[in-house]
Symmetry: none
Subunit: 177 residues, 4 copies
DNA sequence: ACGCTCGGGACCCCCCGTTAGT
DNA sequence: ACTAACGGGGGGTCCCGAGCGT
């Protein structure tokens, strides 16, 4: 068994266990049991539990962070949402995680703001709103969807939801005022 | 010193420490130090850390849960938001917390749906959307605002935000279609 | 309520709880709950848990120590036996208890030896055995019955037991050799 | 250092400390200090303090219990007897210990009953007594000898004692009736 | 002034994150 | 790379003094 393979399996197992039990709730033992490893070898790959968690976030977190478009916010899967929430919670204690999450969020909002600004310049989006403001709305919805996904709230009708989002988007289109 | 007074002080201190450090991060010792108490007496008032947390949620949580109106989502205070997030995280492990959070959420959404339905019947709100769908949107925004508040994202311009929310609300008003 | 009454009730409750849960297993809280008191007032009557236990032994212990005759060893009641066992255990750590138990035991064996010697002189008991030896046998059986009573071993047939004891006693009667 | 070696050392140390201080009086720290270990590794070998105690009983207790013939009951060593007494006391609080002690006692009595029954069939022992009754007598004497050994009662003359036991045994031999 | 409510430490079991040795 | 061990707490509980209320 190669080392890289073990690393990948460890990362995957850690992602699952962290998502299931949370950062504090997941013990190194749990993760190693999930990966079929002993507790020791973890520290050959990652210096600490925090580092392992950060690695998990880097690997599995970025793509789950605000990448799902608004119309699918009602369909976010719980196991994806869990990592995001844990990241936020962990960010409150671990500065490294805080930096990571902060950079993701900032990056996401900047990309969003860039797209929005471009749309505004192209005349397809109301340019009386600042790009950051619109971006913040999208961020809030994205993060909010993580929480509703984590909790077991009953799903709403998807068609209805899509139409609602479309209506809202239309309302901030240029000329719709 | 009366017992009720100590209880209240303990609850308040616990709320602060839980909000600052999270459920797992906060130790009984931390809370007692904050309350100026010894670790022992806690268990004369609350059977366990989980019970204390639940009591904190019951006392300080319900009013912070989705009670801030939409236009002020950008101004949610971090210490209030933190408890909500911790509640969601704790809900994943503790069934009692899960029930509590679930009932809050359900209650909030039902109240919202009621208001929305009333507005729809009165003809002031687009009645082609189901009340639950509109309610879910508000819930997501509310919860999302908790996460943005917890993270230290820079605030957006408040006037801009208010105008955006107003525009969105207008878009789902009856006749604005 | 007079103080003496409270003392008596406390002693009785302590006897029950110590017998039920053992010295270490019984907490002051348990005893006070049994007595319908608060934990504090105990120390107005007894300086410590150990003192309370000694008082219980003095009050309720002496009469349970080796007072049941040999043929009824199989019928010793658990709650009576429990205090004896606890006393023996406590004697290993508390010198005061050790003295108490020692004096009980010594007194019991001396009384036994006296009776035995009298019987030997009267010619009804084999006088080739020393009285202490026969007394020790009875002591062992008495103490042993406390342990079998404390554990929940199934009872043996009482008639069979009585006949066995009678046979054994006959075997040390004078002339039966 | 192999695990089995540590296990054995731990067991031996636990046996000593439990015998010296009793089940409740002995702390995990005490045992580990005796074994020259840290407190942590105990739980890699035994799941709990109760399990460790049970293991001690299995290892050091079973051979001391009822295997010494009746003629040596007067010579039981205090440190061996202590474990048996502690087992009875601990059984009253910890259901796990209770189950083990109970099954242990039952097993011992059944083995005894088996031997007795065999002797009865062989015609060397009075078959008018039920095997359980004779076994119970032996059990009582065995347990009783633990208590007299634990307490510091003066020893009786050994020859006298042996002769007494022999006389009693003779009395239940077949044909001696 | 007595007697109870309340608070104070101390400690215990348990377990966890982490590192040497094989 | 894994087995085995290490301390450091964490929660929980207990036995026991001070200080208010009757």
């Amino acid at each position: 068994v190669t080392a890289e393979q073990t690393r990948a399996e460890l990362l995957s197992a850690a992602a699952r266990v962290f998502a299931r039990k949370g950062y504090d709730g997941a013990s190194i033992g749990d993760i190693c049991a999930e990966a079929g490893l002993s507790t020791g070898p973890v520290y050959a790959h990652y210096g600490s539990k925090a580092e392992l968690f950060v690695a998990v976030l880097r690997e599995h977190g970025h793509r789950q962070f605000l990448t799902i478009g608004g119309s699918a916010f009602d369909r976010r899967r719980p196991e994806q949402a869990a990592l995001v929430i844990e990241a936020v919670v962990a960010a409150k204690r671990d500065p490294e995680v805080a930096d990571l999450v902060s950079s993701w969020l900032r990056g996401g909002e900047e990309r969003l703001a860039g797209s929005i600004e471009a749309a505004q310049r192209a005349g397809t989006l109301d340019d009386t709103f600042r790009p950051e403001t619109l971006g913040r709305l999208a961020t809030m919805l994205g993060l909010g969807s993580c929480l509703t996904a984590a909790l077991d709230v009953p799903a709403v009708d998807h068609d209805d939801w899509s139409r609602l989002i479309a209506t809202l988007v239309d309302s901030v289109r240029a000329g719709d005022r």
